[in-house]
Symmetry: C2
Subunit: 327 residues, 2 copies
Amino acid sequence: MIRIGILGYGNIGRGIEAAVAAAPDMELAAIFTRRDPASVAVKTPGAPVVNVADLEAWTDKVDVMMLCGGSATDLPEQTPAYAKLFNVIDSFDTHAKIPEHFANVDKAAKESGHLGMISGGWDPGMFSLNRLYANAILPNGSDYTFWGKGISQGHSDAVRRIEGVADAKQYTIPVESALEQVRSGSNPELTTRQKHTRECFVVLKDGADAAAVEKAIKEMPNYFDEYDTTVHFISQEELNEKHSAMPHGGFVLRTGSTGWDNENKHVIEYSLKLDSNPEFTGSVLVAYARAICKMAAEGQTGCVTVFDVAPKYLSPESNEYLRAHML
Amino acid sequence: MIRIGILGYGNIGRGIEAAVAAAPDMELAAIFTRRDPASVAVKTPGAPVVNVADLEAWTDKVDVMMLCGGSATDLPEQTPAYAKLFNVIDSFDTHAKIPEHFANVDKAAKESGHLGMISGGWDPGMFSLNRLYANAILPNGSDYTFWGKGISQGHSDAVRRIEGVADAKQYTIPVESALEQVRSGSNPELTTRQKHTRECFVVLKDGADAAAVEKAIKEMPNYFDEYDTTVHFISQEELNEKHSAMPHGGFVLRTGSTGWDNENKHVIEYSLKLDSNPEFTGSVLVAYARAICKMAAEGQTGCVTVFDVAPKYLSPESNEYLRAHML
């Protein structure tokens, strides 16, 4: 059994916990938290909850440590630090800082003889893989990524920071007609506004000015000003009742052509439709934990990404079984 | 530059030739044929055409030999034989015989220090990969594969063997309502008849009995008897004009659930829409030739499949570039 440690018990941590319970070849070693362990109620019967201060005592009881902190401040510190003690996986998603983060984790993991993987999940992660496969197959073509329909945590947070807003959820929605244009192979050039719309459900504080809030949302630089945004004002009860789930998903397409005169067109499409973004993300990370464990057992050290992991390592089945039943 | 040899100059061989021409890091070393080389006109300016009898003289002029024979009789002989001389790739697609073929190629390639890959293309190939990834992520779920709309070579051949048939093409067509049922996450159990229909365009020989031909098609065991089949009788001119292209494609879906009570549903879908089946297949094989070349340079020998190949090897870009731009 592969022994999984989970550091951080938020949405992703809970998603990983459920995925470990569903895996035939894994067990939860412990959940590590910065909080008082006595205050954390976990779902797995009998699973230890341990304060991060005591983490070093677990180095030979955990095969892969799943790091569930945030990309802004937690992971740039945590992943290199814990790669000195464990094989690790994170879901670092600050695209611009991936090269720097990779270098830091690679150095720490190589020095200590561990294997680390960064930027797992579905984007970065499964969407990245599909971009790479499709680009390698169709060098002459164009890439398109659409996200949603789903809750964007970052945009929801941005709305909640506006004065007069008590609570809010923001949905990113792909524009169906743009998707159809891409699928037709017409290779359109699409602006930000043409690809996605945004829809906000907002609870106002008592006495707040709805018109001012709506204006502040729609004109917010980077987050909303380049999009067509719809704002709905609703009660906290309605927000809780109808918008507490965490659906997400999206589409990765590559259209391209082959032939001596580029006369033949092709469309490669990968899509996800997810009821629970954190549970699906946790499920991807757990499959990669299996891979990291096997690759570390083969002697690999340093940092890898989804690009470096041969697909066979993700499955609990033998290579013989995979060839006979899935090829 | 990676030097590619092509053995067999049929549809797939020509698809590979076009893909090599489109690759920034490859060149065509030679095309090998069982025919008289003087009778074979190839598209690549200046490319040598060589009789297979002279193949051994090319062992240090070809980095990867692409084997384009048929799965029934050619490849079971050719792939192990040529793996003694070259790194090789084939698109062997007789699913039931993959374990045996793998063992034969593995033995020959290991003994001679070469690397071979079998069963490349899109099914087996990209569809297999998507089945594996999706199964690893969602262990609790169901797999669905739909093919088409596209020309099935095997079914077209079967129709052409019927008495009274001069020529024919057969299209495999996925049933849209079945696809929609699967996408809804309702996890349907679908019969063969519910998943695909078949459509035949048939040119009759002079004096042939159309009703008898239609009956023979629709009742043909294994090929047609389990499907709803439509038969159209047309002229040879119309067949040549409207049905000479080789489109194909299909859909690989996995639907599954996560959560402690399996309360969250997810749909993973991969699809291909291809104007030219052989050119797309050739493009996949050429990306894997790049991978095989790099993996052989790292010292790997024996037989592999798409499951064993880390995605990074497929791209002409550096690992640093891929992490910075595609992750």
